[in-house]
């Protein structure tokens, strides 16, 4: 387990997502309205679209390229045109700092 810090939690508003890079891995970091944090691979399984640049609604994020929806809590593709799930990464907050484990 190796946690990498990606920035303070108070700079990520609830209901938004942001793209961060950890160990060369691009990650969509999502903070739900209820404050829960999830980190998924920033790459749509349909056409490699940057998921973290899409709109987060509830626990679903919409790929900005073709509108596929992913469940950020499980990585599962909820609608076509995506089929495969995206990787999920462990994420936690320590001293107000968001930390992601990419291993």
């Amino acid at each position: 387990m190796s946690l990498e810090s990606v920035g303070p939690i108070d700079q990520l508003n609830p209901g938004t997502a942001r793209v961060v890079e950890v160990d060369g891995q691009s990650i969509a970091l999502c903070r739900l309205e209820d404050g829960a944090l999830y980190a998924i691979e920033n790459r749509c399984t349909h056409d490699d679209g940057p998921l973290g640049e899409g709109e987060l609604e509830g626990d679903r994020i919409e790929c900005p390229r073709h509108g596929a929806l992913f469940d950020v809590t499980t990585g599962r593709a909820v609608t076509l045109p995506a089929i495969g799930r995206v990787r999920c990464f462990a994420v936690e907050v320590a001293d107000g700092d968001i930390q992601i484990d990419v291993d």
């Binding site: 609608t79 076509l80 089929i83």
Partner: protein, 471 residues
């Protein structure tokens, strides 16, 4: 109200027999142009749930944000501000032809729809006139078994949860520019639900008619075939010939659950002033069979690639496509099959004709995901050129990420063979007759997959087009 009038044809398809239009005052006709206000008004008129309004407005943003596709046909001439996005001729969706306004019924009489229903050739009929469904009826015994066949608007008001569960799960609002447009302003279309194990033994038919000038028709069709059920849906489309262009941009979503069998047949015969930009996609789960039979004869420009996503083992997808492009027409049609699960199979058969300066294009995608082993797919595209002024293009894309597959693609382009012509003419046929006979033979593999009366109709339409082309 008024009698239909036949306009002077603006194209060489002087035989286009559905070119008449009804001179009627629409009940509701929104001013031309697309805005949040127009979208809100459509939603208000339909008195629909709030989630649908939000979805529409979001889709409008997507539509505005997405660039126009730069491939396929020339789309730059479409003026989105010169289109009526909603035109309603009557305020009722009737289940008896007697109750449909006379002038609309006349239209469908001319198209032969009530007659076919009367003769028992159809299990149900739907008719859409401009933006709204004006007629829907289904055989009683099927209704008793729980089959739903109604306008999508009606379905949304009567079965909101069912619609919400599936709506946009196959084609999300942001799938492409025209799917976004449809999601923003959709109106009409068919909603079909077939309960588990129910077999709808003869086709359900929907008939789409654009009557108004500068009109956009954006029907939205959703078909859910529950486990082990079977259904065949047929749609036909015509429009009057106007000197300005109309836009038809439909979205069709189909879910084929385990063991179901769905066939969707289109006989597209829009007049030559219609842009026909349609997104059609189906998902097929375990052992389900999804077949698209797609006949394209009309329109100025068609861009349509019916898709099947094979989601679970044993699913089978099939696309049978026929396109016949005459003067001033560009038919960019094709198929997409995505093998997302092992042991899935697919067949694409495409036949296209180009004549009288027309351009027909096959554009296809065959994708096999890594892990979808044991897939088999066969793609066959043939194009026939009837004269030297026409054009035929073939753009098949294959993306294969799995080794244990059997994928084959073949295509040919040729003209009507001199030897064949000579042979037939030596037996007393004129050149025109001989050519028609050869063309008939060329399209036969697709035609024979149609129900008899549609096969006859399809052949007749191709012959009419050829009469225009080869005189």
């Amino acid at each position: 109200m008024t009698t239909p009038t036949v306009d002077a044809p603006v194209s060489s398809r002087s035989e286009y027999e559905f070119g008449f239009h009804d001179d009627v005052e629409a009940l509701v006709k929104l001013p031309k142009g697309l805005s949040r206000e127009v979208v809100n008004t459509i939603s208000d008129i339909k008195d629909e749930p709030e989630w649908m309004r939000k979805l529409r407005l979001k889709a409008l943003d997507h539509f505005n944000a997405r660039p126009m596709p730069e491939w396929g046909g020339e789309l730059g001439d479409i003026d989105f501000n010169d289109i009526h996005y909603y035109v309603r001729a009557t305020d009722r969706d009737e289940s008896s032809w007697e109750d449909v306004p006379d002038y609309i019924r006349d239209t469908y009489d001319k198209l032969g729809i009530p007659e076919a229903e009367k003769q028992g050739l159809l299990a149900g009929v739907g008719a859409q006139y401009d933006s709204e469904v004006v007629y829907h009826n289904i055989r009683e015994d099927l209704e008793e078994k729980g089959v739903l066949f109604l306008g999508t608007d009606q379905a949304l008001s009567e079965y909101p949860d069912l619609v919400r569960e599936y709506f946009t799960t196959v084609i999300p609002p942001n799938d492409n520019k025209f799917a976004a447009l449809n999601t923003a302003v959709w109106s009409g279309g068919s909603f079909i639900y077939v309960p588990p194990g129910v077999n709808v033994d003869i086709p359900l038919q929907a008939y789409f008619r654009i009557n108004s000038e500068d009109m956009g028709q954006f029907e939205r069709t959703l078909i859910i075939a529950d486990e082990g059920s079977q259904v065949h849906y047929v749609e036909g489309c015509t429009a009057p010939i106007y000197s300005s262009d109309s836009l038809h941009s439909a979205v069709v979503e189909i879910i084929c659950k385990r063991g179901s069998n769905v066939r969707y047949t289109t006989i597209q015969n829009w007049s030559n002033n219609v842009y026909n930009l349609v997104t059609k996609r189906a998902t097929a789960y375990q052992d389900a069979v999804m077949t698209w039979v797609d006949g394209n004869l009309g329109s100025k420009l068609t861009m349509k690639y019916p898709a099947v996503y094979l989601m679970e083992p044993g699913a089978h997808g099939e696309v049978l496509s026929i396109a016949s492009a005459g003067q001033g027409q560009q038919l960019d049609a094709g198929a997409k099959i995505v093998h997302a699960a092992p042991n899935t199979t697919s067949v694409i058969t495409s036949k296209s004709l180009s004549m009288d300066g027309g351009r027909s294009t096959y554009r296809g995608l065959l994708k096999v995901y890594d892990g979808a082993d044991g897939c088999r797919s066969n793609v066959r595209c043939d194009a026939l050129m009837l004269d030297e002024h026409s054009r035929s293009d073939t753009y098949p894309v294959m993306e294969i990420d799995e080794k244990r597959v059997d994928i084959g693609h073949e295509a040919t382009v040729s003209k009507v063979g001199d030897e064949q012509l000579f042979y037939l003419m030596a037996r007393g046929l004129s050149e025109g007759e001989a050519t028609k006979m050869i063309v008939n033979g060329f399209v036969e593999p697709i035609i024979k997959s149609l129900p008899l009366e549609y096969a006859v109709e399809m052949n007749r339409l191709i012959e009419l087009q050829m009469d225009g082309a080869i005189g």
